[in-house]
Symmetry: C2
DNA sequence: TTGAAAGCGCTACCAG
DNA sequence: CTGGTAGCGCTTTCAA
């Protein structure tokens, strides 16, 4: 065992309740005493015992993140952002990669203040949790917990809407529809719906399926697509990485953007890369999502009223990577 | 707050110390009483309070994983494996993606039983930790904590050794040497050393640098390489994903393995994919690593003696993807 | 076989 | 401003 407040009290020659107060920066302790105590604590390498603390205070200032699908790279950026966000609110983040129920139990035992679950499977079973839970994923009215989500359907739909508005009739969507990933599914649904809504010919406006959302997949898919004489005039890409591969394929084929092809990429990270041409994107910035998640977490901790489902609406940012089909 | 053992005691009509014993499956409680108590606990949805428990028992049965470089995909597989491994030993895994020192502090406060740190930066600062720490990464004699690691240098060296033994003189290594990643660096060092040791001509036996270890990077690198008239007769790939891309490029170029090119891939995952040809690999299986890590963790928890640095030696598995340079 | 009681390290309250 | 003390939920003696 390590140093306790009693040890500090002894060497400081004060009572241990005074130490407790000093360490919590209570105004009930004289400034010099406080400083001396803090000094000694530092010297002794004191680490407050979270168990003891949360046992009495019923607060751990810790958020549990349930993340069973650790392989999903998308979420790793999100969780990194959330971690930072929560750090600023002086909350500590702890992650469990166990399956939903086990992880929730663990966090309950540890008395975290709130849990945020990233789970595509969006379970309908009533988790036995004393700790409030917030989920990230497909928000719907039947979900058991407050949910934060991105309107991916609308994102893709509005991309199609814009492209048709500038004259495109052959619009393809490159994305993942093989995995059981409701997040990807929603994007595909948005595309399908838009096809219908904007009366596009399904023969020309297709969904190109890739098995993953990485650069390589985009490259291969685009390679195939662009050799087709019936190739589209506009492309919507399901992810940023996918887009990188697509662009590569476009240039290798000697085509140019936007003259031969307009591109809009689904995206949620701030543009860091320098593409040859600034990329048109649609999506909700990662920071907005993590901010909202943090906000909802704080709300459930403080037992404030919140909307059950928060659906963040995507923004469409159009740059020179899109061109009117008439050449304008 | 949730249900406590006192609540259970009340409805069961026994003292709460009996409940505590029953729940811990102590032989000091009569079987029927025990069963009744367990039954009631389940009904009430009892979750033991980890804080209270670890406060008195000084054991949390939890391992803290420090993983600041969450983006490193390699480690995610390793951590998944370790998590499973530890689960079998009935230990719970909690992950922190904060930077080393902060994470170690957090886990100290939480009184985890041991910490395992995945940190490429392999800090030399003496972490102020009461909890024992084990690191995974470049093992060297100066490291502050017990370390488990893979002899990556030897892995690549032995691949070169084998290839030269069957007559290859033009051997290339495709890998990452741009990132500040000591793990990758070691592989490159192994290659450099082998060039020297086996007296290969550096003009023909080169290191091909990629910026990441993914399929796409392997594809691009190989594409360029294979068009070179001075192309190598054998290739060593720095990662499994890289290899997938390389193979793709090989086939696209109309070359065949092993007739035109022998390949050995650095690897640590059990072959799940069906390549056209079984792949020669060198490396330490992931499971061996996680087993060893778990073993060392248990050792430090029980204060047993252990080697300070455990260097796992890679195995070379040769299949038809390698061929003698004389065509044998 | 069960119960009573001490105490883990800490916070929060009350008395001085 | 400082010290004493109760008690958070639990495990672990020790007594009954």
């Amino acid at each position: 065992m390590g140093v306790t407040i009693k040890d500090i009290a002894k060497t400081a020659g004060v009572s241990y309740s005074t130490v407790s107060k000093a360490l919590r920066d209570s105004p009930l302790v004289k400034e010099p005493t406080k400083e001396r105590i803090i000094q000694i604590a530092k010297q002794l390498g004191y680490q407050p015992n979270a168990a003891a603390r949360s046992l009495v205070s019923k607060k751990s200032h810790t958020i549990g993140v349930v993340w069973p699908t650790i392989e999903r790279v998308t979420h790793s950026a999100l969780i990194t952002g959330l971690n930072k966000q929560l750090e600023e609110l002086s909350y500590t983040t702890l992650i469990s990669i166990n399956e939903m129920e086990f992880a929730i139990n663990t966090f309950n035992r540890y008395q975290v203040d709130a849990i945020v679950a990233f789970d595509e499977r969006n379970s309908k079973e009533p988790a036995n949790s004393t700790v409030p839970i917030v989920t990230y994923g497909i928000a719907d009215d039947t979900s058991l917990f407050p949910t934060v989500d991105v309107n991916r359907k609308q994102a893709i739909r509005s991309a199609v809407e814009y492209l048709t508005s500038i004259g495109h009739k052959k619009i393809n969507y490159i994305g993942d529809l093989l995995q059981e990933d409701r997040l990807q599914e929603e994007k595909v649904n948005g595309f399908k719906q838009a096809i219908h809504e904007f009366d596009l010919d399904p023969y020309y406006s297709r969904i190109v399926s890739v098995t993953d959302l990485e650069q390589y997949d985009g490259y291969q898919a685009a390679k195939k697509l662009l050799n087709d004489p019936e190739r589209p005039t506009a492309l919507i890409s399901g992810s940023h990485d996918l887009t990188k591969g697509i662009l590569r394929a476009v240039y290798e084929n000697g085509l140019s953007i936007p003259d031969d092809l307009s591109i809009i990429s689904y995206d949620n990270i701030p543009a860091t890369e320098n593409f040859d041409i600034p990329l048109s994107t649609v999506g909700v910035p990662l920071q907005l999502i993590t901010e909202k998640l943090a906000e909802v977490l704080m709300a459930v901790i403080n037992e404030e009223e919140i909307d059950h489902s928060i659906y963040l609406e995507p923004e469409l940012k159009i740059t020179e990577s899109c061109q009117s089909i008439n050449g304008g």
